[in-house]
């Protein structure tokens, strides 16, 4: 097998790129352009970014004089991928508990927990996923001993120390089997815990000073009530992990008692069984793309056609759950591609290419109410752009340039350094520790 060695200048360029550049105005021309709004790619596209925002994207877009211009040479250019559900930046190694800030089984606080300060922009998973074209991620905490996990954030994957785009962007909770377990053992217990918490939060919102904190004996501490007040008022979305069709209907029914709730369903493996009712409720779904196994009794109706069928019924969809939310959000591209492949199987319902890409760009952004900020190349959005060496949904495609807020990003990773150290057998003159 022959090998093309990386030249010394190529390696030097990698190191130079490791220093984040300042905000740039840039135009990317001659692109096979993906807007990210569900439309099909167009040839000969141009994206113009100024002051970190998209000012124009499409064909027949003029490049202002004097702007830095990158010729994409006909390659694919798209908005950065938005990971619809992750633990990115709050875990270094899942099995090393000291490095894992996902959940806190022993804390008396639940809804109040806020992941934003825990996000480490230097976590190696951030660099890895950035290099694969992921520019934003929804970061959710996990539940401890309550149905409420806490307040999630939307982050960027830029190589700087300011990762959080939107702190306290949503509240995350478990219903269904997991919610039942933490609430004491049954779905009715989970529902009682949820309703009680929302009622208390409503009381808190009416008059915070009058809210009596009953300490550890309380069903809701003061901080938890404060976190849930904007949820019950509909100012902060409530993301509910729920899988079973009947559980989805129970969650949708909550709005009859708490009409202001801004619900988002997460998981929804059996969503297709009640898709018209989800669509009628106008509730978006961040779903696991390829769940086709009855992994639990609340997922007996699992099928890869779930997302396609929900979309066909008018549900607003996004892709979000993975096997490893802490490290592998890059897999969403492969998941979306598989849903395109599924559309070629008789009897199955997949997604067309534009809808599949939107499910990992504008879909998650809109589910979080942030479609005006991120997830597409429509004018006014943040300048998160990726140039790819092929179809971004295809396995094997690499990102060749990544911009976050208009800033070109380094694409080097720890994994790549390990690769290069062992790419050729050690020569024995010095230990491998000297190859760097």
């Amino acid at each position: 097998m022959k090998r093309m060695m990386l030249s010394a200048t190529a390696i030097a360029a990698v190191f130079a790129a490791a220093i984040p550049a300042a905000a740039q105005d840039v135009a990317i021309t001659n692109a096979r352009l993906v807007i990210g709004d569900g439309s099909a790619p167009v040839e000969g596209g141009t994206v113009v970014i100024r002051d970190g925002r998209v000012v124009a994207a499409g064909t027949n877009v003029a490049v202002p004089a004097g702007l830095r211009t990158v010729d994409a040479q006909g390659k694919w250019v798209s908005p950065g991928i938005v990971a619809g559900f992750s633990r990115l930046g709050i875990v270094e190694i899942s099995g090393v508990s000291e490095t894992n800030d996902t959940s806190a089984d022993d804390s008396p606080f639940h809804a109040a927990l806020d992941v934003a300060p825990a996000v480490n922009p230097l976590a190696s998973a951030i660099a890895l996923n950035r290099a694969e074209g992921v520019t934003r991620a929804v970061v959710a905490p996990g539940t401890g001993e309550s149905i409420f996990a806490g307040q999630g954030a939307v982050i960027d994957l830029g190589a700087d120390m300011d990762a959080v785009t939107a702190p306290r962007a949503f509240q995350y909770m478990e219903y269904g089997e997991a919610g039942a377990r933490t609430a004491g053992g049954s779905r009715p217990a989970a529902l009682a815990m949820l309703r009680n918490a929302l009622m208390e939060a409503r009381d808190y919102a009416r008059d915070p000073a009058a809210f009596a904190d009953r300490g550890r004996d309380a069903f809701l501490t003061r901080l938890d009530a404060a976190a849930l007040a904007p949820v019950v008022q509909g100012r902060v979305p409530l993301l509910v992990h729920v899988e079973r069709g009947s559980d989805i209907l129970t969650v949708l029914d909550l709005t009859s008692e708490f009409p202001d709730l801004d619900l988002v369903l997460v998981g929804a493996t059996e969503g297709w069984t009640v898709a018209p009712r989800i669509a009628a409720a106008g509730v978006p779904v961040i779903a696991a793309a390829l769940n086709d196994l009855p992994a639990s009794f609340e997922q007996l109706a699992a099928t890869q056609s779930n997302l396609g069928r929900m979309r066909a019924a008018g549900v607003k969809i996004a892709i979000g759950l993975f096997n490893d939310e802490a490290h592998q959000v890059r897999w969403v591209k492969q998941y979306a591609g598989n849903l395109v492949g599924l559309s070629r199987v008789p009897g199955e319902t997949g997604l067309d290419w534009g809808a599949a890409f939107a499910a990992i760009s504008s879909g998650p952004a809109e589910a979080l109410g942030m479609g005006g900020e991120i997830g597409s190349l429509r004018p006014g959005r943040r300048g998160d752009v990726v140039i790819w060496d092929g179809d971004p949904l295809e396995v094997g495609t690499a990102a060749t340039m990544v911009f976050v807020d208009g800033v070109e990003q380094p694409l080097e990773t720890r994994q790549q350094r390990l690769r290069d150290r062992y790419l050729t057998p050690p020569d024995g003159r010095l230990p491998n520790a000297y190859r760097h």
């Binding site: 022959k2 093309m4 086709d292 007996l300 890869q304 008789p346 396995v395 690769r419 062992y422 790419l423």
Partner: protein
């Protein structure tokens, strides 16, 4: 039906290479009567197929060969002819595969389908006998639930025709594996790959030391892992000597020890070591241990750091079964590179893909596509046909069945996948899957899609 099964059972026992009681008893009086090496024999019989000629396809033969506009003829469960221009003949069904690829059926050397089935509830979680650090006496097949819905997904989405089902990694010696054909059957014996050798699942590293360390018993460290292993192998050597002597000279039969039977099978080369191990340094220690006790490690599984010791693996003729890109879920999985498989291959070690996952097994072709792309990005020139070895002949070699399956070659089992496009593309799916020449999945025929008993009549029903 029963008679046929018994007849086959005898063949399978002989095929497994063991000394069957029938043949031992007919030998000289001085010899002791040994135990059966195959008391739960395969009753699998190929399902009915029709003589079939697939023409006009791109063939990736699984051994590194490629034929454009190729053709394959198979009948009676076996591949008869492979070429570029085979003439149609009477009584043969012709499938025009224009635009398609034909590959050997996918083999997954690391699966827990059946012993950790769906649904994932305690009632059927039977993969780890986590009650002692070594349990070579347990056999995965005695846990396998043949109705696991995962088998059908692996077939229809993944083109998987053969898989090895292993016990879990809680124990240093987790028990025997079983290799099965990916067919639904009422019994596990009805799935067993005829003549496939058993494996012994071993595990090093974090899992056994965590499971037993948390119970304040040995092993709680990596040195404890090795100590328990070495002590057990030393006992196995003694057991092996006793039985060797008895089988040669007769006298009082030694007491049977079901776990030691397995270890003796390893020392005798009949049972293959399938060793869960992540770290390079630890794999090197295990190779030393194998030399110390006179056995061979057939393959390390999950070998995230294998790329660091490609030379050691090559020299010991040990394969590394890896994921394309898993990492970070524990410290021993931290030093990953997506180029792991490609580096191993480039440096002459035997490398292959595996899943260890009920979802991953449905997309092993895509995992190989990712591993190949990572190698190409590292500057290697890896053809599609070469990369298919990572899914074809190499996994077959790890399971000891490379003479039967794992490549498209005349005389081999007709385990085949017709893909509706290039199988290195995310958009491609299996169109037809044959196991021993029987068409068991056809994308265009809803009736050719298995639905397990568990799923029958459930919402979704196996979709």
């Amino acid at each position: 039906m029963l008679g046929a099964a018994v007849a086959l059972a005898g063949c399978a026992a002989a095929g497994a290479g063991g000394t069957s009681s029938a043949s031992a008893s007919s030998d000289a009086d001085a010899r002791g009567e040994s135990y059966s090496r195959d008391p739960y024999p395969s009753t699998y019989r190929p399902y009915a197929g029709v003589p079939t000629l697939v023409t006009n396809v791109t063939i990736l033969d699984g051994e590194g060969g490629r034929i454009e506009n190729g053709a394959v003829l198979f009948r009676d469960g076996r591949i008869v002819e492979v070429g570029s221009d085979l003439a149609a003949r009477a009584g043969v069904t012709v499938i025009d595969g224009a635009g398609s690829y034909l590959t050997p059926g996918i083999i997954d050397v690391h699966s827990h389908l059946g012993d950790y089935p769906s649904p994932s509830v305690a009632a059927v979680s039977d993969g780890n006998e986590a009650t002692a650090p070594t349990t070579p006496e347990v056999w995965a097949e005695h846990s396998v639930w043949p109705q696991d819905p995962g088998f059908s997904r692996a077939l229809a989405n993944g083109g998987v025709t053969t898989l090895q089902i292993l016990p879990g990694s809680a124990n240093l010696m987790g028990g025997r594996s079983v290799t099965v054909k990916n067919v639904y059957a009422r019994t596990v014996q009805g799935m067993r790959f005829p003549g496939a050798p058993y494996g012994l699942k071993m595990a090093c590293g974090e899992n056994p030391k965590r499971v037993y360390g948390s119970r304040n018993r040995m092993p709680s460290t990596r040195m404890g892992n090795l100590a328990v292993n070495r002590q057990t192998w030393a006992e196995a050597q003694a057991y092996d000597r006793k039985w060797d002597k008895y089988e040669a000279e007769g006298g009082d039969p030694p007491a049977r020890d079901i776990g030691m039977d397995t270890l003796r099978g390893v020392l005798d080369g009949e049972i293959l070591i399938q060793n869960h191990c992540y770290r390079a340094d630890e794999m090197a220690v295990v190779l030393d241990m194998a030399r110390e006790f006179g056995y061979r490690v057939t393959a390390f599984h999950h070998a995230v750091e294998a790329y660091k010791i490609a030379d050691l693996l090559r020299e010991s003729d040990t394969c590394a079964a890896v994921w394309a890109d898993w990492w970070g879920f524990k410290l021993e999985a931290y030093d990953e590179t997506d180029a792991n498989l490609a580096i191993l291959d480039d440096q002459g070690a035997c490398a292959l893909i595996h899943s260890d996952d009920a979802n991953g097994i449905q997309r092993l072709n895509q995992e190989v596509a990712k591993a190949r792309a990572a190698g190409i990005r590292a500057g290697m020139d890896i053809s599609e046909e070469h990369a298919w070895r990572w899914l074809g002949i190499n996994p077959a070699r790890v399971l000891g069945i490379a003479d039967q399956t794992g490549s498209i070659r005349a005389g081999k089992m007709a385990d085949l996948v017709l893909w509706n496009g290039n199988p290195f593309s995310v958009y491609t799916r299996p169109q037809m899957v044959w196991v021993d020449g029987a068409l068991l999945y056809d994308m265009n025929n809803p009736e050719l899609r298995p639905v397990s008993d568990f799923e029958l009549g459930q919402p979704g029903q196996g979709m």
